[in-house]
């Protein structure tokens, strides 16, 4: 059985983010999970990751193909020579909380415009592109009192006879308050 290992890229985090990740790891209830609006937080809105984008187990064949995660449903479809296997896959998810003074309570979601490369065994790679967000990417209604969940899907490009193994990568979601 192949273990799906999702490794988080090591990077320097500002102290507040490091504390926040620590709180997540301890299983703090979701209401207190991520975003606190104060002078030491982002001035107008905050975003926290609650789920990774997981394409799950896939079988490669002599024909290339794709696996698509639907942002709205978290469902998975495959095309071309890609064979769906296993049942562990899901959309990425982020919680957004608006902060600061009252004003238009709407924000936009900016997803990677191009493709993101996933690194696999022995230098093998795959790419993910056509990122999608649910409920939408612009004019999303937000709130200063409760989080708005944005789910993210995408299209994974699997090559012909893609090398078996675990592949991981990262992408960045930007939320901008209007």
């Amino acid at each position: 059985m192949v273990n799906i290992s999702v490794v988080e890229m090591t990077r320097r985090l500002p102290l507040r983010a490091a504390i926040l990740l620590g709180a997540l790891a301890m299983g703090v209830p979701s209401a207190a999970r991520a975003q606190v609006c104060n002078a030491t937080n982002d001035p107008s809105l905050a975003i926290a990751r609650t789920a990774d984008l997981q394409f799950g187990d896939l079988g490669a064949t002599p024909s290339a193909g794709t696996a698509v995660i639907d942002a709205a449903t978290g469902g998975r479809t495959v095309t071309g020579g890609v064979v769906a296997a296993g049942a562990l896959f899901n959309a990425g998810a982020f919680d957004v909380l608006l902060c600061g003074p009252a004003g238009p309570k709407r924000f936009d979601v900016i997803l990677p415009a191009g493709s993101v490369t996933l690194a696999g065994p022995g230098g093998a790679t795959m790419t993910v592109d056509t990122f999608t967000a649910s409920p939408k990417t612009s004019n999303v209604s937000g709130s200063t009192s409760s989080v708005t969940t944005i789910t993210v899907g995408g299209t994974l490009r699997v090559g012909a006879n893609q090398a078996p193994g675990a592949y991981t990568g990262t992408f960045t979601v930007i939320v901008a308050r209007q």
Binding site: A39, G92, G120, T168, F171
Partner: protein
């Protein structure tokens, strides 16, 4: 207090996400998400026996010939329904030998076609085959054994029209096996 905090944050945001447009730092935030995927091992699949539905007589009503696989056994059984009457005694489930990669537990994902069409040799008449089902069994005792210790048996359901023209019908189907 407040202002200096804001400035410090803006500096962090720029350092981490240099692509933010100037002036937008105050109104945006970003977060990195991970993406995971796993390509599972391909398995060598060798056909050792064809799927043979055998002989039968069509009737005045449509019917089916069903080839059943029996879990943990190399045997298969055959039944008919509707106007179809079985004849002869030669039939077999398809059999494939699978070469699993080392690792325990060994799990396979088998993909069978939803339906195929078989055609009369020397003619244009056809019949539909669907209801493909499979069963995998280990063919060696626990401990060291041959390189292809697993057998996949595949059965199916043949749909026969009333008065189906006599003859020999053939077709092909594809099985895809991945090891999880």
């Amino acid at each position: 207090m407040r202002r200096s905090g804001d400035r410090a944050l803006a500096a962090i945001a720029v350092a981490l996400f240099g692509a933010l447009p100037a002036g937008a730092q105050q109104n945006s935030a970003s977060r990195e998400g991970s993406i995971g995927a796993a390509i599972v091992q391909a398995v060598s699949v060798q056909k050792s026996q064809d799927l043979v539905l055998g002989e039968f007589r069509p009737g005045e009503a449509p019917g089916t010939v069903e080839l059943h696989v029996i879990p943990s056994s190399s045997a298969a059984s055959r039944t008919s329904s509707g106007g179809v009457a079985l004849a002869g005694s030669a039939f077999s489930a398809a059999e494939f030998s699978l070469s699993a990669h080392a690792g325990a537990p060994v799990q396979f994902a088998v993909l069978l076609p939803p339906s195929i069409t078989i055609q009369r040799v020397g003619g244009a008449e056809s019949m539909r085959v669907d209801g493909f089902r499979g069963s995998i069994r280990e063919v060696c005792p626990p401990g060291p054994c041959a390189s292809s210790p697993y057998m996949l048996q595949v059965g199916a359901t043949l749909h026969v029209e009333a008065g189906q023209r006599a003859g020999r019908y053939v077709g092909t189907f594809t099985v895809t096996v991945n090891q999880l």
